[in-house]
């Protein structure tokens, strides 16, 4: 293929990817508007709340001015958006320290937790998904089906409570609180993270496993699979050479979705195990009505989610020759 031909063969997918990136950015912008409207504009007067019922109107007016609450909504939104996109989402209303400082300490912890849980879950999910798709309708598939159906329906706090009950209280194997000290040994790490990761993995494995099975089964019924069988292709080759290349788009998308589920689960898990992450922080922000902190946390989670979906989208485009050569 000549250089110009290969350049032109890239133009199609690049435009498509550019389009997806733009769409994700627009969505993020709209999401920010929704979040700010809900948490910043609708709930009434933050100044009043800070000062309490006994404050004089003058005091309130002064604080409103200081907080910028006297400005019209769109202006406040613009200022907030500018701040947050420059990495400065304002001051915490509770601790009076910059939100960015608080978050920068907490965010890595949540990312570590999420990464570890993903690392543990994905292989199991693939195993379950592929095994039950291949054994579709057979005993193994039906048992795995009931198992994963039950696993997705279990609330994280239940899994966590039972895990603590058995592993910490009864057997005393693992700590019920995940505090990772500064100079922890590898064994400390493993022991500390074991339970939170396990609790998160239960849901992710089941959910992702089911979606992988569904993606493969959707392919199993297509005529090209029968054709491959009639060519004498073995079962293993069928799955890895014929089906997975077609199912990879939906599977990657499923992975993005499960990861976002994982962030939701982190909210419960971090709280239960007193893990110093962003999700737990967000719960505290709700309880203390620390809006700037809450907004920033919410925006980070949404941005990460959109990023994951975007990456999955791009991957699906590159994996599909029809889109790739569009």
């Amino acid at each position: 293929m000549s250089a110009s031909a290969s350049a032109s063969s890239w133009r199609g997918p690049l435009r498509l990817i550019g389009h997806r990136v733009l769409l994700a950015l627009i969505t993020l912008l709209l999401v920010s508007a929704v979040i700010f409207t809900i948490s910043g504009l609708l709930p009434g007067d933050a100044a009043q709340e800070v000062l309490g019922q006994s404050a004089t109107p003058e005091q309130i007016a002064a604080l409103r001015k200081e907080m910028g609450l006297d400005q019209p909504g769109p202006v406040r939104y613009y200022q907030w958006l500018r701040g947050i996109s420059m990495g400065d989402p304002g001051q915490s209303m509770v601790t009076n320290t910059p939100v960015s400082e608080i978050i920068s300490v907490r965010l890595p912890n949540t990312l570590i937790l999420a990464a570890l849980s993903t690392l543990v879950s994905v292989p199991f999910a693939f195993l379950i998904g592929i095994a039950s798709a291949i054994a579709r309708g057979k005993k193994l598939d039906r048992s795995l089906n009931v198992l994963t159906l039950s696993m997705v329906a279990l609330p994280e706090f239940l899994v966590a409570t039972v895990a603590v009950l058995i592993l910490s209280v009864k057997l005393q194997w693992l700590p019920s609180i995940t505090l990772i000290p500064q100079e922890a040994s590898f064994a400390d790490y493993v022991r500390g993270y074991a339970m939170p990761v396990m609790v998160l993995a239960v849901g992710v494995i089941a959910q992702l496993g089911r979606m992988i099975r569904a993606a493969i089964i959707a392919e199993l019924d297509r005529p090209y699979v029968e054709m491959a069988r009639l060519k004498g292709v073995s079962q293993t080759r069928l799955v890895f050479h014929h089906i997975l290349p077609n199912a990879i788009g939906p599977i990657v998308n499923a992975m993005a979705l499960s990861l976002s589920y994982l962030f939701g689960g982190a909210i419960i898990v971090e709280t239960i195990f007193s893990y110093p992450g962003l999700a737990g922080l967000m719960v505290n922000a709700v309880t203390s009505r620390d809006m700037p902190l809450l907004q920033a946390c919410a925006m980070i989670f949404c941005a990460v989610y959109l990023l994951l979906v975007l990456v999955a989208d791009v991957f699906a485009i590159l994996a599909n020759p029809r889109l790739r050569n569009a």
Binding site: R222, P223, Y224, E226, M227, A228, R229, L230, K231, G232, V233, S234, R237, H241, H242, P245, N246, A319, N320, P321, R322, N325
Partner: protein, 607 residues
Amino acid sequence: MKDTTQHVEVRDLSVTVRREDGTPLRIVEDVSFDIAPRETLALIGESGSGKTTIALALMGYARGSAEITGQIRVGQATLDGAGGNALKAQRGHRISYVAQSAAAAFNPSRRVIDQVIEPALIHGIEPEEAARKRAVSLFRSLALPNPETIGQRYPHELSGGQLQRLMAAMALITQPELVIFDEPTTALDVTTQVEVLQAFRRVVREQGATGVYVSHDLAVVAQMADRVLVLKRGKVREQNAVDVILQSPADDYTRMLMSAAMPVVMAAPVLPDAPVPLLEVEGIHAGYGPIDKEGRPAHPVLSDVGFSIGRGAALGVIGESGSGKSTVARVVAGLLAPARGSVKLDGVPLAPTLSGRSREELRRVQIVFQSADVALNPGRSVGDILGRVLRFYRGTRGEEARRRVAELLDLIKLPASIASRRCDELSGGQKQRVNLARALAAEPDIILCDEVTSALDTVVRGAILDLLAELRRDLGVAYLFISHDIETVKALCDDIVVLYKGTRVESGVRDSYNVPPVHPYTDLLISSVPELRSDWLSDESERAAAPFAHLRERPDLCRFLPRCPVAIAGTCEVSAPPVRQLSSGNAVLCHHTEETLRRTQSEKILG
């Protein structure tokens, strides 16, 4: 099972599936046949008659939970019904398969060449390099364009006819002893079908393989097979040499298939002379997608299409898939607003969209769609569907409505009791009748029939055509009858319009299409329809190549240019063709004069 002079022996083959409630259902019953080496046997029958099931059983394969019993021997390998299945190991090696829709049977995300040589690799027949070479030489014998590089493409970059030939290459790459073709041309346009059939026949002979050819089309089978096995509901009705079947069929059912395959031309009723035609369509430009500043849609489909239909007349619109036939019907019905052009009913212009048309105007133009399965709301009863139309246009209710529903059902020759049945309980033919009755309930002046017979089996199709002719005679309703099958159109319609890529290349009365000269595309279309004799395909000399096949289609030139075998160098690739009036009364869109057209077409008939 010792007759080693036969290549294939099948004895008492039955295939059983489980119904939803768990009871067994035999879809193939006690079928026995032999195939001699290098012979091709055709399996023919309507859809659901068990053709594919038998063909797959020859590979020891059954779909879903189906069970095969009986004995099958192919070469040395046998399936004995007692669990032994040596045929499985032969799949894709000594026995290979060409599926109905190549577009679906190729893996969309792998390059075609990798799929074509895969059987040779997994069965360890030859190294990859040798297999690639063999593939390229097969591509060449199958008359595929650019045989060296075509394999590098992905399935979606190739046409249906090309994919079908590539699939044949995939089947032949291992030099199999038995090749099974399962309706390999059913999904193709008739002009493509000829080329594919020719290519198949040549390579199978070159390789000296035994063949099984599955089809519902007797005329196609006549070209491909030495012997024919006629199936009905899983049972063998007749088994004989192809010429015997064609000339003196022994079985009633075979005779019925034969007569349905040759539709009789139905006489046109005498039509009243009227100064204004019932429906007049002029200069329609239409398409899909967003409209640009000059009013052109992003995907233009129709350009400058026009015709008129008199009261009680039937106009046929013919063209290959994608030529814009359905778009014509949608524009007339008001479902799609044209970018330009007008539709007049009794001389009165109709609004371009539904919302601009009065209920009375809507009532007078009814539309009937191809696929009966999705044309009727599955959850509702027949009486309900017909009753809604009566109430909507005429306000007919209660006892009066019930009486009308019974009348309508009688008109379409269904028992009145069917009114209480749900639509998803009806057979394909019944659904298509109800579909027609729904249009008739509005007492329209014209019915737009979009491929209403295309999804039906030959025998049922014949019955629906008869019904349409009768309704027209009795009720005086006019038809805009759309089909891709010129025989069907000729049987029913007085006038015919030929569409090619959204342009009207020819229009005129039915009988003018029987003698040259016609438009070069019409000529190709007519000469591509297989005839019911076994030597038709060999008669057809290999087609003359199109001199401008390397050019891209352009909207400002004749659309047919890249495929036209008689294109005039220096003219056709320079300017748009004019509309010419032929002495037969037909109008053609072509640079050729009547004289030169006649010359090219009669030369071919003589030579």
